[in-house]
């Protein structure tokens, strides 16, 4: 057993790499502390799903280690405490919610049918309708209901809110915030809908082309950066180490800047998480 810190982190990802044709994960490391929600952001194909699969033990890394709840997800006992929701509904269409309840009762030791039924009621999911006739939102909600009905300590969601309308997304985010009221629980939530993550996450990990660009407290991230809009000339007079990324247009420039280095004279607007992501990916570095 590796010497991973048992106490403080739900997930420890340590220098994992994996190579595929045309894509590779390179030296990916980050930690998810207990009691927190981590938003895992990146554009499509950046490596979010692959990383999550490695965390869950669906894929083996070529190098590096992963620790989940102090152990490995390959260990069946640990999986009792993990609830997973994938972006595609993973249950056979021919089943209904009642069928799921009957099946999962014998799959999870800590399965609680009452909790499950409560969620069904709350999410307005019919008991006897076949999942074939469910909308995507309902399938997701059902998957979340399952994930929350066996006393899980860790929720891992891979693009679970994509393709859902704002009402459903808010419902789901509310459920997550309730889950996190228990300090022992954590959530790893990957999404390319950054606005969702901006609201509820405690930590943000940003992956791009298989590499981690940053992994830090969301508040610190939001305080660190701001947006500066000015002319090209004005930008040239700014301290170079304050400028993170620049985007030019015909009539001026926009720059992602570090607030603590830009000085008092500049008028710096708030940068949203989406701004930060777009600038990091599509902006240019200043030489």
């Amino acid at each position: 057993m590796q010497n991973m810190s048992l106490g403080k982190n739900s997930i420890v990802v340590d220098k994992i790499s994996k190579r595929y044709d045309g894509f590779s994960l390179d030296n990916v490391s980050f930690n998810l502390p207990k009691g927190c929600i981590m938003g895992f952001i990146g554009e499509n194909g950046a490596g979010k799903s692959t990383t999550i699969k490695i965390i869950l033990g669906l894929v083996n890394p070529e190098t590096g280690n992963v620790s989940v709840l102090g152990d490995s997800a390959q260990n069946g006992d640990i999986r009792e405490d993990i609830g997973v929701v994938f972006d595609e509904g993973c249950f056979p269409d021919e089943m209904n919610a009642d069928n799921l309840r009957s099946s999962f009762k014998y799959i999870y030791k800590n399965w609680d049918s009452n909790v499950f039924d409560d969620y069904l009621k709350r999410f307005a999911i019919p008991h006897k309708k076949n999942m074939k006739d469910f909308s995507r939102g309902m399938k997701m909600k059902l998957a979340i209901a399952v994930a929350l009905s066996h006393k899980a300590k860790l929720l891992v969601l891979d693009e679970a809110t994509s393709g859902l309308d704002p009402i459903v997304r808010e419902q789901i985010l509310d459920v997550f915030m309730e889950f996190i009221q228990n300090e022992e629980n954590s959530i790893l939530l990957s999404s390319h809908i950054v606005s969702d993550l901006e609201k509820v996450c405690d930590y943000i990990t940003f992956i791009h082309e298989g590499k981690i660009l940053l992994s830090k407290e969301k508040d610190l991230l939001m305080e660190e950066f701001g947006l500066l809009k000015c002319s090209k000339k004005e930008l040239e007079s700014m301290p170079k180490d304050a400028i993170e990324r620049v985007r030019e247009n015909q009539f001026g420039v926009e720059a992602l800047v570090k607030r603590n280095k830009i000085g008092r004279n500049a008028i710096v607007d708030k940068a949203t998480l989406e701004d930060i992501m777009l600038f990091m990916i599509r902006g240019n570095k200043v030489c």
Binding site: L56, N60, F86, E94
Partner: protein, 214 residues
């Protein structure tokens, strides 16, 4: 493991109903024709239809990926499928046994009829034992065509086996003591061979699934 089998039952409910209805037709044909050959069709159809479909449904719904994150070990996941082979075939045997005796021609011995039934079911089990690791390795979609070919030959053989008036043939072979021994003890030998295939198949499937990545 129980949970997985329950899930398969719920997933397959429509399929099972359909299989039962069609099987009923075949059984009626058998009775009408006094022919055991059709009974073999029942066994084959039920076996393959239901058990192979569990794989397609799982693949279609990406359940095989999900099954890796539930607390059931991959060994048990594979074992549940093999347990289902046993359940279905025992069930088929229990249903078809009385029907065979009913269908048989008066000159056929009870043991002979039993042997044919057992042999046919065992062929089914052996076929599944061959198919399962292939499906685990390359997935149901790709395996489908290959499986059809593999199935076709033995099915024809089995039906022919049933149709041949084995009574006559057997008396011809009875002269050889080895063949005599084998044919009289078909009802023991076939299951033994099938069991060997079954266990080997399970071991191979486990190895394949252990290495699988999703």
């Amino acid at each position: 493991m129980l949970g997985l089998m329950i899930k398969d039952v719920y997933t397959m409910k429509k399929q099972v109903k359909m299989t039962l209805v069609i099987s009923l037709f075949y059984i009626i044909f058998s009775i009408a024709d006094n022919n055991i050959g059709f009974l073999s069709f029942v066994s084959m159809f039920a076996n393959l239809g239901i058990l192979l479909s569990t794989f397609s449904y799982d693949e279609k719904s990406h359940w095989d990926k999900y099954a890796r994150i539930i607390p059931v070990s991959y060994q048990k996941v594979v074992a549940s499928r093999y347990a289902e082979i046993l359940f279905v075939n025992v069930f088929i045997f229990i249903i078809l046994m009385p029907i065979s005796f009913f269908v048989k021609r008066p000159e056929q011995e009870i043991l002979e009829v039993l042997s044919i039934l057992v042999a046919v079911i065992c062929v089914g089990v052996i076929l599944l034992a061959i198919m399962f690791p292939i499906i685990y390795k390359i997935g149901m979609e790709k395996a489908r065509v290959m499986l059809f070919v593999i199935m076709f030959i033995p099915i024809c053989a089995t039906v022919t086996l049933g149709k041949l008036d084995l009574g006559l043939n057997m008396s011809h072979f009875l002269k050889s003591p080895v063949v005599n021994f084998i044919s009289y003890h078909l009802y023991i030998i076939c299951p033994l061979i099938a069991a060997a295939f079954f266990v080997l198949s399970y071991k191979i499937s486990k190895t394949i699934v252990a290495k699988k990545e999703y």
